[in-house]
Symmetry: C2
Subunit: 355 residues, 2 copies
């Protein structure tokens, strides 16, 4: 209703609205604007009484520092850019949370861009978009295939990447994909499965590639046959479709899915076909999303310490911002432990005919 109070904007000249400035506060408090600045930033000491007077004036005027001006003067924004890939839906959303939390602790805010596909062009576009934004550093989660060269960044922009493909080009932090995958496959072999099948992630994904390779190598090392992997795309829906195939095959007793969503879809299909998990087919996922423990049966999976990764990514940025540290070759690895739940068991002696 009453709206007469609004519209307090400064109509002067062609300049846009703006709140009270440092000068307004100075005038009211009877000090110089520099003193107001000192109170505002706390950079230099101000006599207690003066400070009080300034703070009062600030409150009275509802003063808030103009961050554009401050950023212009200081040359930084206290903000970092974050590029993610649909990632918000997967377990990696925790990485985002951790990045935001850690950045905030450092007094930085986070500007988020979500690219639809992890393809080179999309990420480049996002980089383009973001590097034109007001950021002091850039974190890229799952850049997948983008080649380092494709990232046309200002050379002074600190970068941290959670994708092993960038090792040697940009500082990277990532889970121990290989170790986790090997542990998963070995776990199934140890249970007595003769062979372990794999539902892979999309072929253009770095992590998917690492997991598939580690799976293959573990089988080879154990002297086992390496079956053709199933090609997935991370989605539960695809896991379900592949599951329908697998459910038809008596010879598949153990499956290592490249992520939990696909594992869930797989189990869904197996249930529907009347195949039992883990009695008929053992399933292992990857990520340990929150729901993994409450799927049926609770999913054995490889945990990614997303929180740790996010935290470390911010640390890498901060180190670049702080000292003039050269971290190009840096590569932090976070352990990826196998979490054994109830979706894996020793294979049955011999299955009777299906159903």
């Amino acid at each position: 209703m009453s709206s007469e109070v609004r519209g307090e904007r400064r109509g002067v000249k062609g300049h846009p609205k703006s709140g009270p400035s440092i000068g307004d506060v100075a005038r009211l408090a009877g000090v110089s604007s520099q003193t107001v600045s000192r109170v505002s930033t706390g950079s230099e000491p101000v006599k207690a009484e003066t400070r009080e007077r300034v703070l009062d004036a600030m409150r009275q005027l509802g003063y808030a520092p103009n961050l554009a001006a401050r950023a212009l003067r200081r040359g930084n924004f206290r903000s970092i850019g974050l590029i993610a890939h649909q990632v918000i839906r997967t377990g990696e959303s925790k990485t985002i949370e951790a990045v935001i939390e850690a950045a905030r602790r450092e007094g930085y805010s986070v500007s988020l861009v979500d690219v639809e596909s992890p393809s080179s062009s999309d990420v480049s576009e996002a980089v383009q978009h973001l590097s034109h934004q007001a950021i002091d550093g850039l974190i890229i989660i799952r850049a997948e295939t983008a080649t380092p060269a494709a990232l046309a960044l200002p050379p002074t922009m600190p970068v941290a990447v959670s994708d092993s493909r960038f090792i040697g080009h940009h500082p990277a932090v990532g889970a121990d994909q290989v170790g986790g995958s090997r542990a998963a496959v070995q776990h199934l072999l140890d249970l007595g499965h003769g062979v372990v099948h794999h539902i892979a992630g999309p072929s253009d994904s770095g992590p998917a590639d690492l997991r598939a390779t580690a799976w293959k190598q573990t089988l080879v090392d154990a002297g086992r046959e390496v079956p053709e992997p199933f090609g997935g795309d991370w989605s539960a829906e695809t896991g379900y479709k592949i599951g329908n195939e697998i459910a038809q095959r008596d010879d598949v007793t153990a499956v290592f899915a490249a992520n939990d969503e696909m594992a869930a879809g797989l189990m869904h299909a197996l249930h529907e076909a009347g195949r039992r998990v883990p009695d008929d087919v053992s399933v292992v996922g990857f990520d340990d999303i929150d729901l993994a423990a409450h799927l049926w049966p609770p999913l054995t999976t490889v945990r990614q310490e997303f929180h740790q990764i996010g935290h470390d990514l911010v640390e890498v940025i901060m180190r670049q911002l702080g000292g003039r540290e050269q971290l190009t070759g840096y590569h932090g690895t976070v352990p990826a432990p196998l979490i054994v739940r109830q979706s894996t068991a020793a294979p049955r002696k011999r299955r009777r005919t299906r159903r």
Copy 2:
């Protein structure tokens, strides 16, 4: 190794590093800085030949506009703040995606803050934090109990909220919680269940309250008994614990959980106890997260059109930024349809003893 190329920073005076400026480009191109500005913004026409010359100079120098200066001059940041509450882990993460996408389409970036608890103080703190950030508008997702008064915002800051509690105070966009909840409960009643139990969300949550109230009202309208609701906290873990209780009770044949995670935990507990879903107990969730269709059994649930909500939130902000529209009373409602899958069925005539 070779690092002599780095450190191209301007060492002059006490001023921080910075790339080439509009003036440097102007000098190289042999035009005035204003012309460079015109090319950069495209605000006014520039002769094709001149523009080319300027663009060349820009490329040559690797010029990128200084956004702090631009923001200072223009009085806006082309950025909006987004406050979320652990929301990244739930279905509402899709809202975030949609907000980011829609904002980007408008040329805005998104600054994200994730508060740990939805409590008044935390949200206020986040608002405080963000309103001191470089943003032109603010979107709050699930502010839960924060009272409008608690949001000490600059009066000119456009706000959009996805929480019905703010209706009348701030423009709001939200799913039709009541309609969706009623449909869920009615569905169970229609199947023949005598009474429907409820696993509620946390008591300080607005949406949880709406769902609980709608559940109760639907039962009352049908002339049914209203049992004591179970108190949850959105987590699958709690759903599981409550499920262990419910599994002991023969009288519970239908449960409406306030979200999908709790429904998943509930089903987990029921499975473990040997109770069958939906044969012994029917379960309905809320949200329709991606995995809902691939839980076992696939979960009947109320879909929240998060994408739509996110999109609408941005639209509300843009309308405030554009015209001087007064939207305080605005409240957009997005339908929340019931998605029937396989976790619900008519009750068995009479259950034998447990197990």
